[in-house]
């Protein structure tokens, strides 16, 4: 195994070189106010949402610049404009005026001094108000953000029976607050960076400083900085940059919409990445086993959690292999079926016009179309699509003798099973088609080879130095019995924290 340290060092060196290459000198704030305004207008153009409020503070010309849609107008008035305009003891000297406004007048906490015009432009676009005064070689930025946003709602894709229901929203700061509210500890760190040449999207790397491997944190930051993108509109844009080198169908970058899960991941030494404008957080390193875990498992009693996790794994196996095995049995290994079952299946399949493999591919393809249509349509219409797909087409296809009834049962079982492990629905649906083809051509033994290839591919993946298939391959007995298919009681689980680094072997 390539040692973690070597790999990280290599990555960091690459990133540092790229940074040095990309660094360009920044334009500083001029004492001449007009020059500053011209620079702003040059850079921002005639955008209607950028407001320039020119005024006088004492005898000096001044300007307040803000993005109308990104600021809370009430806050701007209360915290910036009103106090400045009504100030009674404003000094005469321009620099002293700026200091007076900063220290004595403005009531906001979120404010900073900025010397770079480019940074000031970024601040305006992020919802800050920038104040510049003639003769002062820097500007003052006031945090008065107030852009329209969705309120915090229930989680949609990671539904939990008990416990918190809150989910992340698009607002970056609110998402950080959702995590911070759950972990009021100084070890929780939130480091912000900007990615995307044009969009300059804020990305926050969150971790627990006492648990996360600093080398992994640096590697994550390094990989994110290397993301050579123009626009970043969602976390999905960054996912490929965090994926390991070995190409695999399953993603080694997790995602969650729940702040409590994000906290749990951080508590295990993982790094969580929040992207501005995305109601999902990315999680690295992410293991295959985590696709079968949910927060509910930790609320139930351990034996029930073990049962549920095993059930999920069984559902995964069914959803990937069942159609392929059915095709293989019908085509090559009929002897496996009990006599009565064989007879019934043979009668049903004999009246259909297509070979079993084509029939299976066709009906699964139809199912995927119905599913996709139901997903993209408005909810009310979506239900109708599902009913038409499931009842009308399915029933009619069997009655017309186009599809055998056992095949329809297989499709239904596969579909329901795949929803049990919804986190990996997409790779599972692709694998299902692959195994149907393999089963139809080479039978069960081809499926075994396909399974071997899938396994070896997954086993070759290392995500930030941790094997993707841990704790099973390489075998980590402690972790297997602690929190994999089995889960020990909280009395024991809480005694010693399990860090992701302990899986490196």
């Amino acid at each position: 195994m390539i040692s973690m340290g070597d790999w990280i060092n290599k990555e960091i060196l690459k990133v540092t070189a790229a940074e040095a290459k990309a660094a360009t000198p920044s334009v500083t704030v001029s004492e001449n106010l007009e020059d500053n305004i011209i620079y702003f207008k040059e850079k921002l153009g005639e955008s209607f949402d950028i407001l320039y409020k020119q005024t006088f503070i004492g005898s000096h010309k001044a300007v307040l610049i803000m993005d109308d849609g990104m600021c809370d107008n009430l806050l701007v008035t209360q915290q910036v404009v009103n106090p400045i305009m009504t100030a009674e003891k404003m000094p005469q000297n321009a620099s002293e005026q700026m200091a007076y406004i900063r220290d004595k007048i403005s009531s906001g906490i979120d404010q900073k001094e900025e010397h770079s015009l480019d940074e000031a432009i970024k601040d305006v676009l992020s919802g800050l108000v920038v104040l510049m005064i003639e003769g002062v070689p820097f500007c003052e930025c006031f945090g008065v953000q107030g852009f329209p946003k969705r309120s915090i709602e229930n989680a949609q894709t990671e539904v939990q029976e008990s416990g918190a229901q809150e989910a992340f929203i698009e607002s970056f700061k609110d998402n950080v607050a959702l995590i911070r509210r759950r972990v009021r500890s100084p070890v929780a760190r939130f480091e912000v960076m900007e990615i995307g040449k044009t969009s300059q999207t804020r990305v926050c790397v969150c971790y627990f400083s006492d648990r996360a491997d600093q080398a992994v944190v640096e590697a994550v930051k390094g990989k994110l900085k290397k993301a050579d993108l123009d626009v970043v509109l969602g976390a999905g844009y960054l996912r490929p940059f965090l994926e390991p080198d070995v190409t695999t169908l399953f993603s080694a970058v997790g995602s969650t919409e729940r702040p409590d899960i994000a906290c749990a991941e951080m508590a295990e030494g993982r790094v969580v990445i929040l992207v501005d404008g995305t109601p999902f957080a990315l999680v690295v390193p992410y293991l295959f086993m985590e696709n079968f875990q949910s927060l509910d498992d930790y609320d139930h009693r351990p034996y029930y959690s073990a049962f549920i996790r095993t059930l999920k794994f069984f559902s995964f196996v069914l959803s990937v292999f069942l159609p392929g095995i059915y095709v293989a049995i019908c085509t090559f290994h009929q002897e496996i079926l009990p006599a009565s079952m064989l007879y019934d299946t043979a009668v049903q399949e004999s009246i259909t016009p297509f070979p079993v493999m084509l029939e299976a591919i066709f009906i699964h393809f139809v199912y995927e179309i119905v599913r996709e249509a139901g997903l993209r349509m408005p909810k009310s219409v979506g239900h109708a699509v599902s009913i038409v797909g499931a009842l009308v087409i399915g029933d009619a296809a069997v009655s017309a003798g186009l599809v055998a009834a056992p095949m329809l049962i297989v499709v239904a079982m596969t579909a329901i099973s795949s929803f049990v492990v919804s986190k990996i629905y997409y790779p599972v649906s692709l694998l299902r088609f692959a195994f149907m083809v393999i089963g139809g051509i080479t039978g069960f033994y081809g499926i075994v080879i396909g399974f071997g290839v899938l396994l070896v591919n997954m086993c070759a993946v290392n995500t930030f130095g941790t094997p993707f298939t841990a704790p099973f391959a390489p075998l980590h007995i402690g972790a297997v019995f602690r929190d994999s298919f089995l889960r020990i009681s909280w009395k024991l689980l809480g005694k010693r924290e399990l860090k992701i680094q302990s899986m490196e072997k």
């Binding site: 195994m1 496996i336 009565s340 080879i449 070896v456 086993c459 390489p474 072997k505």
Partner: protein, 363 residues
């Protein structure tokens, strides 16, 4: 060049155990020395002893040159010698791969698809193995560790489901014709143990003490042979000796309630083991070839050798390697001894002489 991939003891054990399991599963008594059914049990124990004997040079290699494979030791004598040794052992692994593939094709052609051409299946198997080999020993080690667990579970299931078919009266007394048949049988089993060479080649990549893996593997090998013989001859009696693949024939008897024909499970394990063994052999030969030729071409060695072996299997002579292995057990043991005992002894002797000479020079 990337840092060397390493595998743990459990993975080493798994990888060589699966490889050996395949040899045990594909055992055929046809063309072998005739034995009474009761003689098979002592022959398994004798096989264990012979394997120990064949491993003498491996023990020496591990003790005197820990963490070094034979080509590394040969390099101490001369770089050219090391290159020659790499090529020789690469050819040994390629031959072993051809034998494995030939047996697989024989099985596929006679049992799985008796009415169809088995070529497509073999092509898929080799391509899959090439891909697996190209991913490296770490991935192979991990997948072997998982596969061992799956295989053991499948075996246990089959054994439980056919336990009521075992008839102990079918065993003939051991040593009925004296000690010789069991000894010959033991030598015949042991002379198929390419795993000693695999272990020797894997030495630099092992994290931990290789001897643990070796002795665990030896014990598991003997136990698996004994248990398989028990089920094969307990289930089929002397009829097993007439079967091309007796382990498969006995698995056909397994049934639970209305469900039967669990041989498909056993065959699945068989195919999985073959896939891993071929992948490992492809990987090892590529590792050796890159020491003789260009190191950057490692993946080409995997795919080119895979293609050549496949072509030989399909176009030249389907089962020629199988016939080769069906030759007299003395011939096979001699061939095996040459590569497991004699050549390593020569290599270590050359390295020793070279070191002595250089010590004398320095003195």
């Amino acid at each position: 060049m990337g840092k060397m991939q390493k595998i743990g003891i459990w993975q080493v054990f798994s990888i060589i155990f699966l490889s050996r399991l395949l040899t045990v599963l594909t055992y055929t008594s046809i063309g072998e020395e005739k034995m009474e059914t009761g003689d098979y049990f002592p022959s398994a124990l004798f096989a264990g002893l012979f394997i120990l004997l064949f491993s003498v040079m491996f023990f020496l290699q591990n003790k005197k040159y820990p963490g070094k494979d034979l080509t590394d030791i040969a390099y101490m004598a001369s770089p050219r010698f090391s290159r020659a040794i790499s090529v020789i052992y690469a050819l040994v692994f390629i031959l072993s791969m051809m034998v494995t593939l030939a047996r697989l094709e024989l099985f596929v052609g006679t049992i799985i698809f008796p009415e169809n051409d088995s070529a497509l299946f073999i092509i898929i198997c080799v391509l899959a193995s090439c891909y697996a080999a190209s991913l490296g020993i770490e991935a192979l080690g991990r997948v072997s560790a998982l596969s061992v667990m799956i295989s053991c579970a499948a075996f246990l299931f089959i054994m439980i489901t056919m336990a009521n078919k075992i008839d102990v009266t079918q065993f003939s007394p051991a040593f009925f014709d004296g000690l010789a048949p069991s000894l010959k049988g033991g030598l015949s089993f042991a002379s198929r143990t390419v795993e000693i060479l695999m272990l020797s080649a894997l030495l630099p990549k092992i994290n931990g003490k290789p001897m643990w893996a070796y002795f665990a593997w030896l014990t598991a090998t003997v136990l698996s042979m004994v248990s398989l013989f028990f089920f094969v001859f307990g289930g089929l009696g002397k009829f097993a000796l007439t079967q091309l693949f007796p382990v498969h024939s006995v698995a056909v008897l397994a049934e639970v309630g209305v469900f039967r024909r669990f041989d498909v499970l056993l065959t699945g394990v068989w195919i999985l083991s073959a896939f891993i063994k071929i992948s490992l052999l492809l990987y090892l030969q590529a590792e050796l070839l890159q020491k003789s030729f260009k190191a950057e071409w490692k993946n080409y060695y995997v795919f080119v050798t895979g293609g050549l072996v496949l072509a030989a299997q399909i176009f030249l002579a389907g089962n020629f390697t199988d016939y080769f292995y069906k030759t007299d057990y003395i011939m096979r043991a001699a061939y095996f001894t040459a590569f497991v005992l004699v050549l390593p002894a020569v290599i270590m002797l050359c390295a020793y002489i070279k070191r002595r000479k250089s010590d004398e020079k320095n003195a």
